[in-house]
Protein backbone atom coordinates (compact mmCIF):
# COMPACT_ATOMS: atom_id res chain seq x y z
CA UNK A 1 0.00 0.00 0.00
CA UNK A 2 1.38 3.41 -0.95
CA UNK A 3 1.80 5.78 1.98
CA UNK A 4 -0.18 8.99 2.11
CA UNK A 5 2.13 11.90 2.80
CA UNK A 6 0.88 14.56 5.17
CA UNK A 7 3.85 16.94 5.50
CA UNK A 8 3.42 20.43 4.14
CA UNK A 9 4.04 20.77 0.43
CA UNK A 10 6.33 23.54 -0.76
CA UNK A 11 6.98 24.69 -4.31
CA UNK A 12 10.63 25.27 -5.13
CA UNK A 13 12.65 25.85 -8.25
CA UNK A 14 13.78 22.79 -10.17
CA UNK A 15 17.00 24.61 -11.02
CA UNK A 16 19.76 23.06 -8.85
CA UNK A 17 21.40 26.34 -7.97
CA UNK A 18 18.13 28.08 -7.16
CA UNK A 19 17.09 25.08 -5.06
CA UNK A 20 20.41 25.15 -3.22
CA UNK A 21 20.00 28.86 -2.51
CA UNK A 22 16.43 28.30 -1.30
CA UNK A 23 17.47 25.46 1.03
CA UNK A 24 20.07 27.73 2.60
CA UNK A 25 17.59 30.59 2.94
CA UNK A 26 15.10 28.22 4.63
CA UNK A 27 17.91 26.83 6.86
CA UNK A 28 17.06 23.27 5.90
CA UNK A 29 20.61 22.10 5.53
CA UNK A 30 24.26 22.19 6.43
CA UNK A 31 25.40 24.44 3.60
CA UNK A 32 26.15 21.66 1.13
CA UNK A 33 23.68 20.82 -1.65
CA UNK A 34 20.66 18.74 -0.75
CA UNK A 35 18.48 16.40 -2.79
CA UNK A 36 14.94 17.86 -3.15
CA UNK A 37 12.49 15.68 -1.19
CA UNK A 38 9.90 15.17 -3.89
CA UNK A 39 7.02 12.79 -3.22
CA UNK A 40 8.42 9.99 -5.36
CA UNK A 41 11.74 10.10 -3.52
CA UNK A 42 10.09 10.26 -0.09
CA UNK A 43 7.77 7.37 -0.98
CA UNK A 44 10.72 5.27 -2.13
CA UNK A 45 12.41 5.96 1.21
CA UNK A 46 9.25 5.04 3.12
CA UNK A 47 9.02 1.75 1.25
CA UNK A 48 12.26 0.75 3.00
CA UNK A 49 10.89 1.50 6.46
CA UNK A 50 9.62 -1.24 8.76
CA UNK A 51 7.11 1.26 10.19
CA UNK A 52 4.36 3.26 8.47
CA UNK A 53 4.80 6.94 7.56
CA UNK A 54 2.74 8.26 10.46
CA UNK A 55 4.53 6.17 13.08
CA UNK A 56 6.19 8.36 15.70
CA UNK A 57 9.67 7.13 16.57
CA UNK A 58 10.09 9.67 19.35
CA UNK A 59 10.49 13.32 20.20
CA UNK A 60 13.82 14.85 19.24
CA UNK A 61 15.40 17.48 21.46
CA UNK A 62 16.18 20.30 21.81
CA UNK A 63 12.82 21.60 20.59
CA UNK A 64 11.10 18.26 21.10
CA UNK A 65 10.05 17.95 17.49
CA UNK A 66 7.87 14.95 16.77
CA UNK A 67 9.88 12.55 14.63
CA UNK A 68 7.48 10.70 12.36
CA UNK A 69 8.86 8.18 9.90
CA UNK A 70 7.71 10.54 7.14
CA UNK A 71 9.74 13.47 8.45
CA UNK A 72 12.76 11.24 8.95
CA UNK A 73 12.37 9.98 5.37
CA UNK A 74 12.21 13.53 4.02
CA UNK A 75 15.47 14.35 5.77
CA UNK A 76 17.08 11.11 4.57
CA UNK A 77 16.22 12.17 1.00
CA UNK A 78 17.75 15.60 1.63
CA UNK A 79 20.95 13.92 2.83
CA UNK A 80 21.26 11.81 -0.30
CA UNK A 81 20.58 8.46 1.35
CA UNK A 82 19.58 5.57 -0.80
CA UNK A 83 16.36 3.93 0.42
CA UNK A 84 18.19 0.75 1.43
CA UNK A 85 20.15 2.82 3.97
CA UNK A 86 17.05 4.35 5.56
CA UNK A 87 16.65 1.57 8.15
CA UNK A 88 20.18 2.37 9.37
CA UNK A 89 19.15 6.00 9.86
CA UNK A 90 16.07 4.88 11.79
CA UNK A 91 18.13 2.59 14.02
CA UNK A 92 20.56 5.42 14.74
CA UNK A 93 17.73 7.78 15.70
CA UNK A 94 16.24 5.07 17.94
CA UNK A 95 19.59 4.74 19.69
CA UNK A 96 19.95 8.50 20.07
CA UNK A 97 16.53 8.65 21.70
CA UNK A 98 17.52 6.18 24.42
CA UNK A 99 17.67 8.19 27.66
CA UNK A 100 21.18 6.93 28.37
CA UNK A 101 22.50 8.66 25.28
CA UNK A 102 21.31 11.96 26.78
CA UNK A 103 20.14 13.72 23.63
CA UNK A 104 18.60 16.38 25.87
CA UNK A 105 22.04 17.37 27.14
CA UNK A 106 24.13 16.55 24.08
CA UNK A 107 22.10 18.54 21.56
CA UNK A 108 22.39 21.68 23.66
CA UNK A 109 25.84 21.51 25.24
CA UNK A 110 28.72 23.92 24.67
CA UNK A 111 30.81 20.83 23.86
CA UNK A 112 31.54 19.73 20.30
CA UNK A 113 29.94 16.33 20.93
CA UNK A 114 27.84 14.77 18.17
CA UNK A 115 26.45 11.34 17.30
CA UNK A 116 29.16 9.19 15.76
CA UNK A 117 27.72 6.06 14.18
CA UNK A 118 29.63 2.78 14.12
CA UNK A 119 28.06 0.03 12.01
CA UNK A 120 28.49 -3.71 12.32
CA UNK A 121 27.05 -6.38 10.09
CA UNK A 122 26.64 -7.35 6.45
CA UNK A 123 25.05 -4.03 5.42
CA UNK A 124 28.44 -2.29 5.55
CA UNK A 125 29.36 -3.58 2.10
CA UNK A 126 25.90 -3.30 0.61
CA UNK A 127 25.48 0.34 1.62
CA UNK A 128 29.00 1.68 1.13
CA UNK A 129 29.80 2.17 4.78
CA UNK A 130 33.54 2.71 4.94
CA UNK A 131 35.58 0.62 7.33
CA UNK A 132 38.94 0.38 5.60
CA UNK A 133 41.39 3.13 4.58
CA UNK A 134 39.99 6.60 5.27
CA UNK A 135 36.88 5.25 6.97
CA UNK A 136 36.46 8.35 9.17
CA UNK A 137 36.52 10.70 6.23
CA UNK A 138 37.64 10.79 2.68
CA UNK A 139 36.92 7.24 1.58
CA UNK A 140 33.71 8.48 0.00
CA UNK A 141 31.34 5.58 0.57
CA UNK A 142 27.77 6.68 -0.05
CA UNK A 143 26.49 5.10 3.14
CA UNK A 144 29.17 6.68 5.32
CA UNK A 145 28.62 10.12 3.86
CA UNK A 146 24.83 10.14 3.77
CA UNK A 147 23.65 8.08 6.76
CA UNK A 148 25.48 10.26 9.26
CA UNK A 149 24.35 13.35 7.38
CA UNK A 150 20.72 12.19 7.48
CA UNK A 151 20.96 11.86 11.27
CA UNK A 152 22.48 15.35 11.49
CA UNK A 153 19.71 16.81 9.34
CA UNK A 154 17.05 15.10 11.46
CA UNK A 155 18.54 16.72 14.57
CA UNK A 156 18.61 20.07 12.78
CA UNK A 157 15.21 20.03 11.10
CA UNK A 158 13.14 17.91 13.49
CA UNK A 159 15.01 18.48 16.75
CA UNK A 160 15.59 22.15 15.96
CA UNK A 161 19.32 21.93 16.72
CA UNK A 162 20.90 25.13 15.45
CA UNK A 163 24.44 26.26 16.27
CA UNK A 164 24.58 29.38 18.41
CA UNK A 165 20.86 29.15 19.17
CA UNK A 166 19.48 25.93 20.57
CA UNK A 167 22.85 24.22 20.32
CA UNK A 168 25.44 26.10 22.33
CA UNK A 169 28.38 24.16 20.88
CA UNK A 170 31.32 26.54 21.01
CA UNK A 171 33.29 25.01 18.14
CA UNK A 172 31.23 22.21 16.65
CA UNK A 173 33.31 19.65 14.77
CA UNK A 174 33.52 18.15 11.27
CA UNK A 175 31.40 15.20 12.43
CA UNK A 176 28.46 17.60 12.71
CA UNK A 177 28.10 17.15 8.97
CA UNK A 178 27.54 13.52 9.83
CA UNK A 179 29.87 10.68 10.79
CA UNK A 180 29.32 7.01 10.10
CA UNK A 181 31.88 4.26 9.70
CA UNK A 182 32.01 0.51 10.07
CA UNK A 183 34.13 -1.93 11.99
CA UNK A 184 36.41 -4.12 9.87
CA UNK A 185 35.08 -7.24 11.55
CA UNK A 186 36.87 -9.58 9.17
CA UNK A 187 40.23 -8.17 10.22
CA UNK A 188 39.46 -7.93 13.90
CA UNK A 189 41.05 -10.60 16.07
CA UNK A 190 38.33 -9.95 18.66
CA UNK A 191 34.56 -10.24 18.85
CA UNK A 192 33.00 -7.23 17.14
CA UNK A 193 31.61 -4.24 18.99
CA UNK A 194 28.07 -5.49 18.33
CA UNK A 195 28.89 -9.05 19.33
CA UNK A 196 30.41 -7.85 22.60
CA UNK A 197 27.10 -6.10 23.27
CA UNK A 198 25.27 -9.38 22.75
CA UNK A 199 24.12 -9.07 19.13
CA UNK A 200 24.54 -11.89 16.61
CA UNK A 201 27.20 -11.59 13.89
CA UNK A 202 24.51 -11.83 11.19
CA UNK A 203 22.68 -8.73 12.40
CA UNK A 204 23.19 -5.18 11.21
CA UNK A 205 23.71 -3.07 14.32
CA UNK A 206 24.31 0.64 14.76
CA UNK A 207 26.24 1.89 17.77
CA UNK A 208 25.87 5.58 18.54
CA UNK A 209 28.71 7.23 20.43
CA UNK A 210 28.56 10.77 21.78
CA UNK A 211 32.01 11.64 20.48
CA UNK A 212 33.78 14.94 20.95
CA UNK A 213 36.05 14.61 17.96
CA UNK A 214 38.74 12.51 16.34
CA UNK A 215 41.90 12.50 18.44
CA UNK A 216 44.79 11.08 16.43
CA UNK A 217 47.51 8.90 17.93
CA UNK A 218 50.64 7.71 16.16
CA UNK A 219 53.81 5.74 16.78
CA UNK A 220 56.69 4.55 14.62
CA UNK A 221 59.20 3.75 17.33
CA UNK A 222 57.87 0.78 19.22
CA UNK A 223 56.50 -2.52 17.97
CA UNK A 224 55.89 -4.02 21.38
CA UNK A 225 52.13 -4.47 21.80
CA UNK A 226 52.13 -3.76 25.53
CA UNK A 227 54.22 -0.64 25.11
CA UNK A 228 51.94 0.62 22.36
CA UNK A 229 48.78 -0.05 24.33
CA UNK A 230 50.33 1.62 27.36
CA UNK A 231 50.97 4.74 25.28
CA UNK A 232 47.43 4.68 23.89
CA UNK A 233 46.07 4.45 27.43
CA UNK A 234 48.18 7.37 28.60
CA UNK A 235 47.19 9.42 25.54
CA UNK A 236 43.44 8.97 25.95
CA UNK A 237 43.79 9.98 29.61
CA UNK A 238 44.73 13.53 28.61
CA UNK A 239 44.34 16.00 31.46
CA UNK A 240 41.66 18.17 29.84
CA UNK A 241 39.40 15.23 28.96
CA UNK A 242 35.70 15.75 29.73
CA UNK A 243 35.97 12.57 31.74
CA UNK A 244 38.06 14.43 34.32
CA UNK A 245 35.40 17.14 34.69
CA UNK A 246 32.79 14.92 36.20
CA UNK A 247 32.48 13.53 39.66
CA UNK A 248 31.07 10.39 38.12
CA UNK A 249 33.76 8.32 36.37
CA UNK A 250 31.25 5.55 35.67
CA UNK A 251 29.64 7.49 32.80
CA UNK A 252 30.90 7.74 29.23
CA UNK A 253 33.08 5.66 26.94
CA UNK A 254 36.15 6.40 24.87
CA UNK A 255 36.06 4.61 21.54
CA UNK A 256 39.55 3.67 20.38
CA UNK A 257 39.84 2.89 16.68
CA UNK A 258 42.73 0.48 16.13
CA UNK A 259 44.15 -0.29 12.71
CA UNK A 260 44.13 -3.98 11.67
CA UNK A 261 47.92 -4.29 11.75
CA UNK A 262 48.15 -3.08 15.33
CA UNK A 263 45.11 -5.17 16.25
CA UNK A 264 46.88 -8.33 15.10
CA UNK A 265 49.86 -7.29 17.16
CA UNK A 266 47.78 -6.57 20.27
CA UNK A 267 45.93 -9.87 19.94
CA UNK A 268 49.09 -11.88 20.61
CA UNK A 269 49.26 -11.00 24.32
CA UNK A 270 45.54 -10.13 24.51
CA UNK A 271 43.46 -12.62 22.52
CA UNK A 272 40.19 -11.26 23.97
CA UNK A 273 38.95 -7.67 23.65
CA UNK A 274 38.18 -7.65 27.37
CA UNK A 275 41.87 -8.25 28.10
CA UNK A 276 42.77 -5.23 25.98
CA UNK A 277 40.23 -3.16 27.89
CA UNK A 278 41.59 -4.34 31.23
CA UNK A 279 45.15 -3.44 30.22
CA UNK A 280 44.09 -0.03 28.88
CA UNK A 281 42.18 0.70 32.08
CA UNK A 282 45.16 -0.22 34.26
CA UNK A 283 47.17 2.49 32.50
CA UNK A 284 44.54 5.13 31.67
CA UNK A 285 45.33 7.42 34.57
CA UNK A 286 47.48 10.39 35.40
CA UNK A 287 49.23 11.28 38.66
CA UNK A 288 47.39 13.97 40.59
CA UNK A 289 50.45 16.22 40.62
CA UNK A 290 50.18 16.55 36.84
CA UNK A 291 47.43 19.13 37.38
CA UNK A 292 47.87 22.63 38.80
CA UNK A 293 46.83 23.11 42.42
CA UNK A 294 43.34 24.42 41.69
CA UNK A 295 42.44 21.48 39.45
CA UNK A 296 43.93 19.10 42.01
CA UNK A 297 41.52 20.50 44.58
CA UNK A 298 38.55 20.09 42.20
CA UNK A 299 39.51 16.47 41.51
CA UNK A 300 39.85 15.81 45.24
CA UNK A 301 36.48 17.46 45.92
CA UNK A 302 34.95 15.13 43.36
CA UNK A 303 36.56 12.13 45.03
CA UNK A 304 38.52 11.28 41.89
CA UNK A 305 41.93 10.77 43.48
CA UNK A 306 42.91 7.32 44.70
CA UNK A 307 45.05 6.83 47.79
CA UNK A 308 48.08 6.19 45.59
CA UNK A 309 47.56 9.53 43.80
CA UNK A 310 46.22 8.00 40.58
CA UNK A 311 43.37 9.79 38.85
CA UNK A 312 41.74 7.23 36.61
CA UNK A 313 40.06 8.38 33.44
CA UNK A 314 37.11 6.03 33.84
CA UNK A 315 35.69 3.78 36.51
CA UNK A 316 35.61 0.51 34.59
CA UNK A 317 37.60 -1.25 31.80
CA UNK A 318 34.51 -1.59 29.59
CA UNK A 319 34.42 2.19 29.18
CA UNK A 320 37.48 1.96 26.93
CA UNK A 321 36.12 0.50 23.72
CA UNK A 322 38.43 -0.85 20.99
CA UNK A 323 37.06 -0.94 17.45
CA UNK A 324 39.09 -2.34 14.56
CA UNK A 325 38.94 -0.29 11.37
CA UNK A 326 41.11 1.80 9.09
CA UNK A 327 43.71 1.05 6.46
CA UNK A 328 46.62 -1.33 6.41
CA UNK A 329 49.21 1.41 6.62
CA UNK A 330 49.43 0.81 10.38
CA UNK A 331 51.17 3.49 12.54
CA UNK A 332 47.96 5.22 13.66
CA UNK A 333 45.03 4.93 16.02
CA UNK A 334 42.20 7.36 16.62
CA UNK A 335 40.44 8.00 19.90
CA UNK A 336 36.90 9.33 19.89
CA UNK A 337 36.79 11.04 23.29
CA UNK A 338 33.63 11.01 25.32
CA UNK A 339 31.37 13.83 26.41
CA UNK A 340 31.14 11.92 29.68
CA UNK A 341 27.46 12.24 30.45
CA UNK A 342 26.45 9.90 27.65
CA UNK A 343 26.44 6.14 27.25
CA UNK A 344 26.96 4.20 24.01
CA UNK A 345 23.65 2.99 22.64
CA UNK A 346 22.98 0.26 20.16
CA UNK A 347 20.03 -0.60 17.92
CA UNK A 348 19.41 -3.36 15.42
CA UNK A 349 18.71 -2.28 11.85
CA UNK A 350 15.19 -3.48 11.05
CA UNK A 351 13.87 -3.83 7.53
CA UNK A 352 10.28 -4.19 6.31
CA UNK A 353 8.99 -7.73 6.60
CA UNK A 354 8.60 -9.38 3.22
Amino acid sequence: MTAVLTSEQVEVSADPEAWHARSIEERWGDGAPLIPPTDDRVLAMLAASPEPADHVIGVLPPQHGVATIELLAINAVLAGCEPAAFPVVLAAIEAILEPGWNAFGLTTTTSSVFPMLIVNGPCRDDLGIDYRAGCMGGAGGRGSMTIGRAVALCLRNIGGQRAGETSRSVFGQPARFGMCFGEWEERSPWASLAQRAGFGADLDVVTVHGGKGTYPLADIHNDDPRDLLYLIAKSVAFPLSNLYLSGNPENGQVVIAINPVWADRFAVPFPEAEQVQEFLWEHAWQPIDLWPAHNQQMLRDRDRVANDGKVRLVGRPDQLVPVVCGGLGSLHAVALPSFGESQLQQAVVRRPSA
Partner: protein
Protein backbone atom coordinates in the same frame (compact mmCIF):
# COMPACT_ATOMS: atom_id res chain seq x y z
CA UNK B 1 23.44 25.96 -19.88
CA UNK B 2 20.30 27.83 -18.99
CA UNK B 3 18.63 27.90 -15.61
CA UNK B 4 15.18 26.41 -15.67
CA UNK B 5 12.24 28.29 -14.23
CA UNK B 6 10.26 25.07 -13.69
CA UNK B 7 8.87 24.49 -10.25
CA UNK B 8 8.80 21.23 -8.36
CA UNK B 9 6.88 20.32 -5.26
CA UNK B 10 8.76 19.05 -2.25
CA UNK B 11 7.89 18.21 1.37
CA UNK B 12 8.93 20.55 4.17
CA UNK B 13 11.63 18.80 6.25
CA UNK B 14 11.10 20.65 9.52
CA UNK B 15 8.93 19.61 12.43
CA UNK B 16 6.01 21.77 13.41
CA UNK B 17 7.18 24.09 16.22
CA UNK B 18 6.10 23.08 19.70
CA UNK B 19 2.61 24.25 20.67
CA UNK B 20 2.28 27.58 22.42
CA UNK B 21 0.24 26.16 25.29
CA UNK B 22 2.18 26.63 28.47
CA UNK B 23 1.91 25.27 31.97
CA UNK B 24 1.13 27.80 34.71
CA UNK B 25 4.07 29.27 36.63
CA UNK B 26 3.66 29.15 40.39
CA UNK B 27 4.59 31.85 42.88
CA UNK B 28 5.06 31.63 46.64
CA UNK B 29 2.65 34.51 47.45
CA UNK B 30 3.70 34.48 51.10
CA UNK B 31 6.46 35.66 53.36
CA UNK B 32 9.45 33.44 54.01
CA UNK B 33 8.44 32.74 57.57
CA UNK B 34 7.97 29.05 58.14
CA UNK B 35 8.69 28.17 54.51
CA UNK B 36 11.23 25.67 53.28
CA UNK B 37 13.19 27.03 50.36
CA UNK B 38 15.28 24.68 48.25
CA UNK B 39 18.63 25.49 46.69
CA UNK B 40 19.73 23.18 43.89
CA UNK B 41 23.41 23.42 43.04
CA UNK B 42 25.57 21.63 40.50
CA UNK B 43 28.88 20.14 41.53
CA UNK B 44 30.44 21.63 38.39
CA UNK B 45 29.98 25.28 39.35
CA UNK B 46 31.83 26.56 42.39
CA UNK B 47 30.61 30.15 41.84
CA UNK B 48 26.98 29.13 42.19
CA UNK B 49 27.75 26.94 45.19
CA UNK B 50 29.14 30.01 46.93
CA UNK B 51 26.20 32.25 45.92
CA UNK B 52 23.73 29.57 47.02
CA UNK B 53 25.50 29.33 50.38
CA UNK B 54 25.15 33.08 50.78
CA UNK B 55 21.48 32.97 49.83
CA UNK B 56 20.89 30.13 52.28
CA UNK B 57 22.30 32.37 55.00
CA UNK B 58 20.06 35.28 53.95
CA UNK B 59 16.98 33.06 53.65
CA UNK B 60 17.51 31.60 57.14
CA UNK B 61 18.03 35.11 58.47
CA UNK B 62 14.70 36.11 56.89
CA UNK B 63 12.76 33.30 58.51
CA UNK B 64 12.94 30.42 56.05
CA UNK B 65 14.38 26.97 56.43
CA UNK B 66 16.62 25.96 53.55
CA UNK B 67 17.10 22.60 51.94
CA UNK B 68 20.09 22.17 49.63
CA UNK B 69 20.43 19.52 46.97
CA UNK B 70 23.44 19.01 44.71
CA UNK B 71 23.49 17.30 41.32
CA UNK B 72 26.42 15.79 39.51
CA UNK B 73 25.28 13.51 36.66
CA UNK B 74 22.98 13.51 33.68
CA UNK B 75 22.88 9.82 32.79
CA UNK B 76 23.60 6.38 34.18
CA UNK B 77 23.16 5.37 37.79
CA UNK B 78 24.34 8.79 38.98
CA UNK B 79 21.93 10.60 36.68
CA UNK B 80 19.03 8.45 37.83
CA UNK B 81 19.91 9.08 41.48
CA UNK B 82 20.17 12.84 40.86
CA UNK B 83 16.75 13.04 39.18
CA UNK B 84 15.21 10.92 41.96
CA UNK B 85 16.76 13.24 44.54
CA UNK B 86 15.34 16.29 42.73
CA UNK B 87 11.91 14.66 42.80
CA UNK B 88 12.09 13.99 46.54
CA UNK B 89 13.50 17.47 47.18
CA UNK B 90 10.63 18.98 45.18
CA UNK B 91 8.13 17.29 47.46
CA UNK B 92 9.79 18.66 50.58
CA UNK B 93 10.29 22.32 49.67
CA UNK B 94 7.78 25.15 49.24
CA UNK B 95 9.76 26.64 46.37
CA UNK B 96 13.32 26.84 45.21
CA UNK B 97 16.20 28.23 43.25
CA UNK B 98 17.77 25.97 40.63
CA UNK B 99 21.15 26.62 39.07
CA UNK B 100 23.37 27.09 37.41
CA UNK B 101 22.85 27.60 33.72
CA UNK B 102 26.29 28.53 32.52
CA UNK B 103 26.90 25.94 29.83
CA UNK B 104 24.64 24.30 27.27
CA UNK B 105 23.75 21.00 28.91
CA UNK B 106 23.84 22.38 32.46
CA UNK B 107 21.37 25.08 31.40
CA UNK B 108 19.16 22.38 29.89
CA UNK B 109 19.25 20.41 33.12
CA UNK B 110 18.74 23.55 35.21
CA UNK B 111 15.52 24.08 33.28
CA UNK B 112 14.66 20.38 33.48
CA UNK B 113 14.96 20.35 37.28
CA UNK B 114 13.11 23.69 37.60
CA UNK B 115 10.26 22.17 35.60
CA UNK B 116 10.23 19.17 37.95
CA UNK B 117 9.70 21.58 40.84
CA UNK B 118 6.94 23.41 38.95
CA UNK B 119 5.32 20.06 38.17
CA UNK B 120 5.01 19.63 41.93
CA UNK B 121 3.11 22.94 41.84
CA UNK B 122 5.94 24.71 43.66
CA UNK B 123 7.46 27.96 42.44
CA UNK B 124 10.86 27.58 40.81
CA UNK B 125 13.40 30.17 39.77
CA UNK B 126 15.99 29.00 37.27
CA UNK B 127 19.31 30.79 37.76
CA UNK B 128 21.31 31.27 34.58
CA UNK B 129 24.11 33.45 33.31
CA UNK B 130 23.29 36.07 30.69
CA UNK B 131 25.06 34.21 27.88
CA UNK B 132 22.61 31.33 28.34
CA UNK B 133 19.41 33.27 28.95
CA UNK B 134 17.91 32.74 25.50
CA UNK B 135 18.86 29.07 25.64
CA UNK B 136 17.18 28.76 29.06
CA UNK B 137 13.99 30.42 27.82
CA UNK B 138 13.97 28.24 24.69
CA UNK B 139 14.36 25.08 26.74
CA UNK B 140 11.60 26.17 29.14
CA UNK B 141 9.30 26.78 26.17
CA UNK B 142 10.24 23.45 24.59
CA UNK B 143 9.32 21.72 27.86
CA UNK B 144 5.96 23.51 27.91
CA UNK B 145 6.89 25.95 30.68
CA UNK B 146 7.51 29.14 28.72
CA UNK B 147 6.57 31.30 31.71
CA UNK B 148 9.17 29.72 33.97
CA UNK B 149 10.88 32.43 35.99
CA UNK B 150 14.51 32.93 35.08
CA UNK B 151 16.98 34.97 37.10
CA UNK B 152 19.76 36.25 34.87
CA UNK B 153 23.18 36.72 36.41
CA UNK B 154 26.37 38.19 34.96
CA UNK B 155 28.50 36.04 32.69
CA UNK B 156 30.87 34.49 33.42
CA UNK B 157 30.56 33.86 37.14
CA UNK B 158 33.30 31.27 37.28
CA UNK B 159 36.81 32.50 38.05
CA UNK B 160 35.58 35.57 39.90
CA UNK B 161 37.09 36.08 43.36
CA UNK B 162 34.97 35.02 46.33
CA UNK B 163 34.43 38.62 47.50
CA UNK B 164 33.00 39.56 44.14
CA UNK B 165 30.71 36.52 44.14
CA UNK B 166 29.46 37.42 47.65
CA UNK B 167 28.69 40.92 46.38
CA UNK B 168 26.77 39.48 43.42
CA UNK B 169 24.85 37.20 45.82
CA UNK B 170 23.86 40.22 47.89
CA UNK B 171 22.97 42.32 44.88
CA UNK B 172 20.74 39.69 43.24
CA UNK B 173 19.02 38.39 46.38
CA UNK B 174 16.08 40.88 46.28
CA UNK B 175 15.42 40.04 42.63
CA UNK B 176 15.55 36.33 43.43
CA UNK B 177 12.94 36.76 46.19
CA UNK B 178 10.74 38.88 43.92
CA UNK B 179 10.79 36.22 41.17
CA UNK B 180 9.93 33.52 43.69
CA UNK B 181 6.93 35.59 44.75
CA UNK B 182 8.02 36.29 48.32
CA UNK B 183 5.80 38.84 50.04
CA UNK B 184 7.25 41.06 52.70
Amino acid sequence: MSATSDLITIRRPTAVPPPANQAPAFTLDASLAGKTIGLRTDMAWRSWQLIAEEWARFLERDGATTLPVETMSQVGKGGHEDRTRIDTWSEKVDGGFVGLGTCGSCTSFTIHDSVTLEQHEKPAVAVVCSEFESHARNMARFLGHGDLKVLVMPYPLEARPDDELRQIALEYYPQALALLGVQS
